[in-house]
């Protein structure tokens, strides 16, 4: 009854002339602008003999990409090129988010350290890296640092595991046989962890005792995977990159190769974003009152308990919303890859594919829509999480 009344009221209010005219005017202008642009675009495309539409996604692209997670060369379609770009964007963003978070937390905590030198040094790190344009930092890593690495013959080799030279970084490839067994082991371990958490919660409520859930979880993970691996006869082989001389030129072949474009972009993105995350972490920890820690101590919590149950949950409420924004910024900033030619979405699709086909409108539309939908998905997920941990005031 109340709802209907409300709706009636709002309709009445909006039908008043003073309220109706601006809204209709806005709608009309918007529709007119869209109509004006599309009609112009159609005549322009027709006069240049460019067909409009998304059929080009199925035709052969005819260009090659130097770094791809899936099979790709010029004989694949433009749609596949789009997928290559998207996967590369997601790859560099997800690695960047992980590294930036770890680094940001470390620097943020270090800024609050009692050690004078450490806190000043981390402040310097934040102030310098935060105030320089990201594209400058990417250029610096790419053109100055990574270009000056040793040549292929004189590569740095760390523990026979990581090989670094001017052409990139090489890791050994992990080749598992009978990997299924480990997978089933993981599934069982996760089930066991859930069970243990449920049981410990019950124990706390019923008898006031607590279990070391974290230690149990790690034990479960190790135990189950090794047992299953032994039963399932799993074998692990490392396939290292090997130095091969071809027509007098040395080259590393095999293994997992990370191109310098990827590394430069990853370093620049993670360092740049970590400074912002560090500031968020610092603000979050400072926002938890001193009384909270004292209160938890007086309740008999030990240091790690008070950190885990009192300080961090409250600090996270302050840390997470601005950090979400930083994650989204990192994703959007990964488009600067175009500056050094790392084949991400912006550089493969809005760069190479656009100049090949000339279909500016369709391609820019697809690229913008992709970034927009990834941003919206991430922010929707984190809003949900935020809502879940939000402070419930009584």
């Amino acid at each position: 009854m109340l709802r209907i009344e409300e709706i009636k009221n709002s309709v009445k209010k909006n039908l008043r002339l003073g309220n109706l005219i601006p809204q209709l005017l806005l709608l009309f202008t918007f529709v007119f602008i869209i109509y004006y642009f599309t009609s112009n675009a159609q005549t322009n495309m027709a006069s240049r003999n460019i067909s409009s539409g998304f059929d080009f996604l199925k035709t052969n692209s005819g260009f090659d990409v130097q770094f791809s997670l899936i099979d790709y060369d010029g004989s694949y379609s433009f749609g596949r090129a789009y997928l290559v770009g998207l996967l590369n964007t997601l790859l560099v963003s997800s690695f960047g988010i992980v590294f930036a978070t770890i680094l940001g937390f470390l620097v943020g905590v270090a800024r609050l350290s009692n050690n004078f030198l450490l806190s000043k040094l981390s402040q310097l790190y934040v102030e310098i890296l935060r105030n320089l344009p990201l594209i400058l930092q990417i250029f610096f890593w790419y053109f100055v640092v990574l270009r000056n690495l040793p040549s292929t013959e004189n590569s740095f080799i760390f523990l026979d595991f990581l090989i670094v030279n001017v052409q990139g970084a090489y890791f050994p490839k992990f080749i598992f046989t009978n990997f299924n067994a480990i997978f089933y082991g993981l599934v069982c371990a996760i089930l066991a962890i859930f069970l243990a958490r449920y049981y410990s919660k019950k124990l706390i409520y019923e008898r006031g005792k607590s279990l070391p859930v974290f230690k149990i979880s790690i034990l479960c993970l190790i135990l189950f995977t090794t047992i299953f691996a032994l039963i399932g006869n799993t074998d692990l082989q490392l396939k290292r990159a090997e130095l091969i001389q071809n027509f007098g030129i040395f080259n590393y072949v095999g293994g997992v190769k990370l191109v310098p474009e990827f590394l430069a972009l990853l370093f620049a993105l993670s360092l740049y974003t970590s400074t912002f995350i560090a500031e968020n972490v610092r603000a979050g920890i400072l926002s938890v009152g001193k009384g909270q820690k004292e209160a938890s101590k007086s309740l008999g919590f030990n240091n790690s308990q008070s950190l885990k149950l009192i300080i961090i949950p409250q600090a996270l409420r302050v840390i997470i919303p601005p950090t979400t924004n930083q994650y989204l910024n990192l994703l959007k900033n990964s488009s600067l890859a175009a500056g050094i030619g790392y084949p991400d979405l912006a550089s493969v699709f809005a760069g190479t594919a656009l100049s090949q086909t000339g279909k500016a409108i369709e391609i820019i539309f697809i690229v913008m829509l992709t970034y927009l939908s990834i941003s919206l998905i991430i922010s929707a997920f984190l809003n949900w999480y935020n809502h879940k941990i939000a402070f419930v005031e009584k």
Binding site: P22, M45, S47, N115, L117, I361
Partner: protein
């Protein structure tokens, strides 16, 4: 003095073995970074000369900066007209400096001047016309172009941002949801795609035969993109205003626009100045991206010089030069905005 220092260092550097370890690590880090950098940048560097071959000391070759200085700063802008760019910047900085010394009620006039009159003056000065020789926009470049675009971007985006912020808080559903969609869409896409769209896509959307200058297209793209961010900052200011202000304005019979222009916005804008400054810093750091759509921005000039056969491999000096300028400007701006924030937060309590 010495005893004080020893006591202090015992307390804050070597309080336990873990702390001492961290201190030693920090000292090692400082020693492995600072002396080599000073050697490279000052002790082993070459400051005077005319050519790359003059740089024999092994350190930085600052000759490169002094020879290329005008290109790095002004791009290919004709040398005899450079005073016009300088004059525009002097007017801009002078106006802002002047605003610190005038009384509160005149500050709004200054804001009005900066938003509506200054862009016209600066545009005429820099581009030409009205008796001044016309300098085509493709000759603009260097650091000046970055600052021109960033300043124009923030100034042009301000009125639009304020309107969007008001629209987002409007009670009229069409306007409200239109503004929300507009703001969230622009905030969800990277600036680079906006620049690509302005450079490549936008000409296709205009009637054939019309030609809009590329720099203008890019500037409009930046301004619209930035207006979404400005709108969110202004919205924060609008929300922080107590409800009583709105009620008071309404109760003395003010309409919507009167209320916003004479009561709400003057107070809200004052509180969002730190936020706007931060937005401007972010924009200033993003503007070098115009290099990727083919403009001779300072990084573009450095990358061009690097490929010049006489100046091969001069990238580091160029990047360090650009880094120092960007670092100093954004450091000054951000400490100003932090100071202001602190001042406002104590004023309100």
């Amino acid at each position: 003095m010495l005893i004080n220092f020893i006591q202090w260092s015992k307390k804050s550097l070597f309080s336990n073995w873990w702390n001492s370890l961290i201190t030693l690590f920090c000292i090692y880090l400082l020693f492995s970074i600072i002396p080599p950098f000073i050697n490279w940048a000052i002790l082993d560097a070459t400051f005077s000369g005319k050519l790359k071959t003059d740089c024999t000391a092994g350190g930085a070759c600052w000759v490169f900066i002094s020879v290329w200085f005008e290109k790095l700063m002004y791009g290919f802008y004709p040398v005899e007209h450079i005073w016009r760019i300088n004059l525009s910047f002097i007017i801009f900085i002078g106006t802002i400096g002047f605003s610190f010394f005038v009384r509160e009620k005149y500050k709004l006039y200054i804001l009005f001047f900066l938003i509506f009159i200054f862009p016209v003056i600066a545009f005429i000065l820099i581009r030409g016309g009205f008796g001044l020789t016309i300098v085509e926009t493709r000759e603009w470049g260097g650091l000046a172009l970055t600052f021109i675009l960033a300043i124009f971007g923030i100034i042009l985006s301000f009125p639009l941002g304020v309107l969007l912020a008001l629209g987002r808080r409007s009670e009229l559903p069409v306007i409200k949801y239109f503004c929300i969609c507009f703001i969230e869409t622009w905030r969800g896409i990277p600036l680079l795609t906006v620049l690509f769209a302005a450079a490549v896509m936008f000409p296709l959307l205009l009637p054939s035969g019309t030609f809009v200058d590329k720099l203008l297209r890019v500037a409009i793209g930046i301004a619209i993109f930035e207006s979404a961010y400005v709108a969110e900052v202004v919205r924060g200011g609008l929300q922080s205003l107590p409800r009583g202000q709105y009620d008071a304005a309404k109760s003395i019979g003010m309409g919507y626009w009167q209320m916003n222009f004479f009561v709400v916005l003057p107070q809200a804008i004052k509180t969002v100045i730190p936020g706007i400054t931060n937005t401007f810093i972010a924009l200033l750091k993003d503007t070098p991206l115009i290099y990727l759509v083919g403009m001779a921005e300072i990084l573009g000039i450095v990358n061009m010089a690097k490929a010049n056969p006489y100046w091969l491999g001069m990238a580091v000096e160029g990047y360090v030069f650009a880094a120092i300028i960007f670092g100093v400007v954004s450091f000054i701006l951000s400490s100003y905005s932090q100071k202001l924030e602190k001042k406002f937060s104590t004023e309100n309590k």
